[in-house]
Symmetry: C2
Subunit: 375 residues, 2 copies
């Protein structure tokens, strides 16, 4: 693998020491043995991957969330920033190793699903020219194995949206202009880029956010151009309602802050954007919460358990099997996979499985049995 | 104080030992020194009071909640049970000691507010005839110092609703017939008693619950007549929405389960009573959540803090002052009382104070400053 001169590899001793202290773990994906960082090691953050020659695919950093758009702009940006759409999917880093292209999850696992589907999602020829490039993309759509819901515009299967580029062994991202040139030159699918804004463009940005809110988009990511002015994300009010709609049946299985945080963000959005009294929004939120629970109650009454079904497709059977092994190993008893999976459908191998919501299953069974609860 | 032969006093040594182990604590209300149990001691539950002669005002037991009315009836009752209205207020036990009548909170503190107002709430002459009687009552109404909201029918100040009777030093309650005779003979205000039901009367009970749901009542308490068949409570769907309406501005200051538990109960109620798709209910729930947060955001923007105002009235200034000392001691910095309190209004001393919602205050100030949050 070619490296640019500034890149830093991780020496074997550092890695072995990190593994010994449980800050990294050895993983295997088919023929490839790699390590993933479970914590910061030698300046590389959690989620970084260490390849056999010590080269490092850097972890993707957390992006801070602003909950007030106007105040957030004033606080974080003195100069220009780029505004891109925040896509509601899962984050992967796509990289080349010994001629094969892989996709890794945020946590640093090579993802059998995303890796399998890469040829359908984008043309990775750019990695022939620049093999140390790492493409950061969101994979989103109804047929993904991690999360329910899909952004508007992805009606079936999944799609990829590249939004950042990094280099092996180096921290930081390619500058916006370098990234945009590569997206364009290689025809890569990208998250919509709405343009370059100045702090004084608050009105235009608010109008954009309200349009995204109405369209069902998750929100925006702001990327500062000035040195030291970084990234911030800001989500629409309705994206909080959409999250609650999708997860109302998981009321007890998600941390309760999942719901209270979204309700807080929704209230802040409604307040900032003068949406108070919007009857449609109110009804949609109430319905999301009530229907989520009643759907779970119905499943508890009829089949005795509450779960969520996932479906995704693979090009290669061995990748489907690698994915199944991964979720069995990490999801424990909570995952149910029918024995005939993966099932051939046309050119694909389809995998359907169910993640059991254990607390909803147990609590509803208890409630429907008439048992008393002391609270 | 007269004792019936079966009553059991607590000897000094048992009490001193419990205090040493922090299972009880000494308290003082004006001239009266008493102890309250912080945990079970000698068979008396948490919240019991021990008077100077060792006689014990028993703690009020928790009542189990059923979340499915039909299944709950089948599971808990083989024979008749009484159905009473559950009043949404705070629970006190009213007792006589050396000629004075006191009211104690669930936790075992003598409540300066309730004790002060007893002459306005009920005629305690029954305690002249039976001084070892303990009246268990809910005190409810808009002007109470503990909780917001009021049951339908209490438009101002507070009212008392007796729903159980106990005897000093004895466990268990008076039988329903004995209680009802005393309520009637002494004209005591009581929680509405809807009658005696059998498990086969499920339809009638469901109709009653739906009427209470529409009227804004909190729900019902069932009290079994058969030996070993105890009590159960069941709340209406809309009472969960009402709780959320009242507490939406406390989204981060209450345990998040406060909200998720109520949403779960609402969903179970909607499912059992076929209210799915009720647009009014959906909108009311959504509005409750959105308005609670936006009201808090408005207060954060305008006065820089989020709090809840309480107002209550006292007959005697010294009781108002005792109550103020109590909330200062137990509420710490979270309580703000204006220096001119209590304030004379007609025949009463009025106390107004504010309980600060610290997490909402801090989180909203941070969000409105534009700060980033990492989640």
């Amino acid at each position: 693998m070619a490296h640019s001169p500034e890149s830093t590899a991780m020496d074997e001793r550092t890695l072995a020491d990190a593994i010994g202290r449980n800050r990294a773990s050895r993983e295997r994906f088919q023929g490839l043995e790699y390590a993933r960082l479970r914590d910061t090691v030698a300046g590389y953050r959690r989620g970084s991957l260490v390849l056999p020659d010590g080269s490092v695919i850097p972890g993707y950093p957390s992006i801070g969330r602003v909950q007030s758009l106007g105040a957030g702009l004033r606080r974080h940006y003195s100069g220009a920033f780029w505004v891109e759409e925040k896509i509601d999917g899962f984050n992967v880093r796509i990289f080349r190793w010994q001629g094969r292209t892989y996709a890794a999850t945020r946590g640093g696992y090579i993802c059998a699903f995303s890796t399998d589907r890469l040829p359908d999602l984008l043309d990775s020829a750019i990695l022939d020219d620049e093999p140390d490039l790492v493409l950061c993309a969101e994979i989103a759509g109804p047929e993904n194995p991690y999360l329910e819901g899909a952004p508007p515009g992805v009606a079936e299967d999944v799609a990829a949206f590249v939004f950042d580029m990094m280099r092996t062994g180096r921290t930081g991202f390619l500058a916006q202009g370098e990234k945009m040139a590569r997206l364009r030159d290689h025809g890569l699918p990208s998250a919509p880029i709405f343009g370059r804004f100045l702090p004084a463009d608050l009105d235009a940005l608010q109008a954009l956010v309200l349009r995204l809110d109405a369209e069902g988009s998750e929100g925006v990511v702001l990327k500062g151009e000035q040195p030291g002015e970084g990234r911030a994300k800001y989500v629409t009010g309705r994206s909080n309602v959409a999250d609650i709609e999708l997860c109302g049946d998981q009321l007890l299985d998600l941390p309760p802050e999942y719901f209270t945080n979204r309700l807080l963000r929704l209230g802040l959005f409604v307040n900032e954007h003068a949406q108070a009294g919007d009857a449609d929004l109110e009804r949609r939120l109430g319905r999301a919460l009530i229907n989520g629970v009643t759907a779970a109650v119905d499943r508890s009454r009829t089949i005795g358990r509450v779960g969520r079904r996932f479906r995704c497709r693979f090009r290669q059977r061995r990748n489907a099997e690698a994915f199944m092994a991964h979720i069995k190993a990490t999801g424990g008893q909570r995952v149910r996979i029918d024995p005939e999976m993966p099932r051939r459908e046309g050119a694909f191998w389809v995998l359907e499985f169910e993640r059991i919501l254990e607390r909803m299953t147990g609590t509803l069974a208890n409630a429907l049995s008439g048992a008393s609860q002391y609270d």
